[in-house]
């Protein structure tokens, strides 16, 4: 079949083009991923019964904690996965971690490249990177570290890693920023920026014009909840990078594609609205009926990510949002939907060798 171009300006794909690829991806995953196939068969849905990609069964993102969704042919077994990502847990480790197998990193890299360039480097080829996210050597199971590593390889002219895999900061972290004479790209999570701001207790640093920041991770699971606006204002004051040059990235371990707010290309008005690449479709579902919601209606966010070819593409998240004009606004996530200590306690009980049937 004809594969719509992935390079260039990321033109939108027609629903037919996307749907044809989505159904092909579904056939692959139905054939090769046993737990997923079981779910589909239970619902009486097979590749031949699907006429619209929206009918393809979605799995909850939580299920990545309980099932290994790997869609590879039998003869792949000897070659090994290119990567196995894990969701982050709490420091106490009391939460079960989700796992996302990546048979081939090449597809991950391909899906990363253009959206990142358009969102963070629409105007320059390469620039120095300062990462508040640990390197892959430090955090081999982190999909975020893997992404930063790709950013450095493909768009960086040098990199400074300020945080190690245990979350320990380099003593000269602030000095590194002070020393930079040319525009830099800073990558970090919301929590990491909070830590960085604490280190700026005495004044601020003036980063060169043209510097920019990618913030990700939001405040999910963070103990300190600071409104995003407050955070961006503080970052801006501390670094002199204007607020509208701080790009929010929305991604998750369970998805190999990412979404960004295109503020660098479009200006401040683009703040708060995430854009998906053409191979990632976003829908909003009614929380009770799971029917697709209309424009502007709030509901649960569901994704169909073609880049997830090696696992499962159709995923319903626990995040809530709204779509307008094809862009996504994040509204929130169930706070403490999984009381910590509780799930682990139940695991303790249910993993004991009881009487099987």
């Amino acid at each position: 079949m004809n594969c719509p171009a992935v390079d260039g300006q990321l033109q939108a794909w027609s629903d037919d083009d996307f749907g044809a690829m989505a159904r092909e991806v579904f056939s692959w995953q139905f054939e090769l991923c046993q737990p997923y196939r079981g779910l589909c068969e239970r619902r009486g849905i097979t590749p031949s019964s699907v006429s619209d990609w929206r009918e393809i069964p979605a799995v909850p993102s939580t299920a990545f904690k309980y099932f290994d969704f790997v869609s590879v042919p039998d003869d792949f077994a000897g070659e090994g996965l290119d990567a196995l990502f894990e969701t982050s847990g709490t420091t106490q480790g009391s939460e079960r971690r989700g796992r996302h197998a990546v048979p081939r990193a090449s597809l991950y890299r391909a899906s990363f490249h253009h959206p990142f360039r358009l969102a963070l480097l629409p105007d320059v080829e390469r620039m120095p990177v300062v990462s508040l996210i640990p390197s892959v050597d430090e955090a081999p199971r982190s999909s975020l570290s893997s992404m930063v590593e790709m950013a450095v390889e493909e768009f960086g002219s040098g990199v400074e890693w300020l945080v190690d895999g245990d979350g320990v900061w380099r003593a000269d972290a602030v000095d590194v920023l002070h020393a930079s004479q040319t525009p830099v790209l800073i990558l970090g999570t919301a929590l990491a920026f909070l830590h960085l701001l604490e280190q700026f207790a005495e004044g601020s640093v003036r980063l060169a014009d043209g510097s920019r920041i990618m913030e990700t991770g939001g405040f999910k699971g963070a103990r300190r909840s600071v409104a995003r606006h407050e955070l961006y204002t503080s970052i801006s004051v501390a670094t002199s990078v204007p607020e509208h040059r701080i790009v929010n990235e929305y991604g998750m371990t369970e998805l190999l594609s990412q979404m960004y707010e295109p503020v660098l290309a479009e200006g401040p008005d683009a703040q708060g609205w995430h854009v998906a690449p053409p191979w990632l479709r976003v829908r909003i579902l009614d929380p009770t009926s799971l029917a697709e919601q209309g424009e502007g209606e709030e509901g649960i966010i569901a994704f169909f990510d073609l880049a997830n070819l090696g696992s499962v593409s159709h995923i319903v998240t626990e995040d809530v949002g709204v779509i307008e004009g094809g862009r996504l606004r994040l509204m929130g996530r169930a706070p403490g939907s999984n009381p910590r200590g509780c799930s682990r306690a139940m695991d303790d009980l249910m993993s004991a060798s009881g009487s099987g049937p």
């Binding site: 909850p60 939580t62 309980y66 799971l290 319903v316 996530r333 249910m350 009881g354 009487s355």
Partner: protein
């Protein structure tokens, strides 16, 4: 208002000073008298004609995220223990002679002051129990009324108390404290109800300053956080995360099994699955007249029936983020169903969920009104399964032959459980229950002795 902070670190010094002054007023009363006054306030919550009860019922559904009929059932269940008679019984259950909270008492004898001297030490020890000079209670919000219980416990041992109710439990606490201040200003002055968010550790740290006893309720993380902020000179009492389980013996699976299923369903529904007194997993013995899977169907039927009496809509229907969590959990269970390891029964609009597990499965926490049901070949096998979960196990609901109950109780409590109870009484333990294994008043007091 849920989530509204009404105190700053700076206010706390003044609150502490006011509470210190109020302690003299408290100590001037007898424990019995305090119980009488608290019981007078508490009884108002059970009186349909009382405006206090009406105010509680008006605000409770929204704050606690319970449907109005369920909120009323919860309040009724809680208020049973807020009467003078029950509180006096609580004092007696814990101290034999509650006058030990008022003055020195010769244990096993009459009050020391009645005689002025002891009989050469042979008659017993001359002891007195003091509530803390300042008790700080950091409560949690899952179950409304828990913070009122906490407050009552403090005052019964005559401890001036700063209490931070849980986010979903501020209303009853405030109403109780205000009504107390109206009827008895001296007692009312010994209570400060303030709310701030748990993440505001600076406020928590300031609140704990000067406390003699700190009590914390909540998740393991929340309790650990308060414990870490507790001054070295204060005693710490932690009620960390706990959950309940249920056991149904084959003797209960014959005639009357529908009633057992109904009791299980009520225990599951009462606090929308939030309480340590709710059964999260029910073990059902095989080889009864009704097989475990059929019992799961009966519980599902009972939950569907309860939907009319106590709707779940207040709990999750309107809250998208909670509903999103339910979608995650049910979707994961469906994958287990597809793997042949489980079977799920659930409401459609309603958020009740029953999972029958035919194999060892790991599931996410099921939010809302939900229960997991598993077959076991013999209930005697269950205590050995508890293992590490014993640290979080609290109530065990039971239906079956009473002669077997004592043997199971020995093994289950050895494994960590602190309460074995028929399902029909599971939701509301009496005021004098051994809360997580300790008398709730005894754990607050400091003993003194004259040798």
């Amino acid at each position: 208002m849920r989530g509204m902070r009404d105190v700053t670190a700076n206010d706390l010094a003044r609150i502490r000073a006011d509470l210190a002054v109020a302690r003299d007023g408290l100590l001037a009363r007898s424990a019995a008298e305090v119980a009488e006054i608290l019981g007078g306030v508490g009884a108002r919550f059970a009186d349909p004609s009382d405006p206090l009860r009406r105010a509680a019922l008006e605000g409770l559904p929204a704050e606690a995220a319970l449907s109005p009929p369920l909120a009323e059932a919860v309040l009724d269940g809680m208020a049973v223990d807020w009467t003078a008679a029950r509180l006096v019984r609580l004092l007696e259950a814990e101290f034999d002679d509650p006058r030990v909270l008022d003055r020195f008492v010769v244990r096993n004898g009459s009050a020391a002051s009645d005689h002025g001297e002891q009989d050469g030490g042979r008659r017993g020890r001359t002891v007195r129990a003091f509530g803390p000079s300042l008790c700080v209670q950091i409560s949690s919000g899952g179950v409304p009324g828990v913070s009122v219980n906490a407050l009552i416990r403090s005052l019964l041992v005559k401890a001036p108390t700063l209490i931070k109710p849980g986010a979903g439990d501020t209303l009853l606490t405030r109403l109780f404290a205000e009504a107390l201040a109206d009827v008895d200003p001296a007692l009312g002055a010994a209570v400060a109800v303030r709310y701030w968010r748990g993440e505001e550790r600076d406020v928590t740290a300031a609140a704990l300053d000067g406390a003699e006893v700190v009590v914390a309720y909540g998740s393991d993380e929340a309790v650990r956080s308060v414990r870490n902020l507790t001054p070295a000179t204060a005693r710490f009492v932690g009620y960390h995360h706990r959950f309940g389980i249920g056991l149904v013996g084959r003797e209960a699976l014959g005639a009357g099994v529908e009633k057992v299923a109904a009791h299980v369903a009520r225990a599951v529904a009462m606090f929308e699955h939030r309480g340590c007194v709710c059964p999260h997993i029910v073990f059902v013995e095989e080889h009864g007249n009704v097989v475990p899977e059929a019992f799961a169907e009966l519980v599902a039927g009972a939950l569907e029936g309860l939907e009319r009496r106590w709707p779940t809509d207040g709990a999750s229907g309107g809250r998208e983020v909670e509903r999103a969590a339910l979608v995650q959990a049910r979707g994961t269970v469906e994958l287990q169903e597809a793997a042949g390891a489980a079977r799920m029964l659930h409401g459609h609009e309603a958020s009740w969920t029953v999972v029958f597990e035919s194999d060892l499965v790991q599931l996410p926490q099921l939010p809302g009104r939900s229960v997991r049901i598993r077959g076991v070949s013999d209930l005697d096998d269950v205590p050995a399964m508890v293992g590490r979960a014993g640290r979080h196990l609290q109530s065990v609901g039971y239906a079956g032959d009473e002669r077997r109950a004592m043997g199971l109780a020995e093994a289950l409590t050895r494994a960590g459980a602190t309460r074995i109870v028929p399902f029909e009484h599971m939701s509301f333990p009496p005021a004098w229950w051994l809360h997580d294994g300790r008398g709730p008043l005894e754990t607050l007091v400091r003993w003194a002795e004259v040798e």
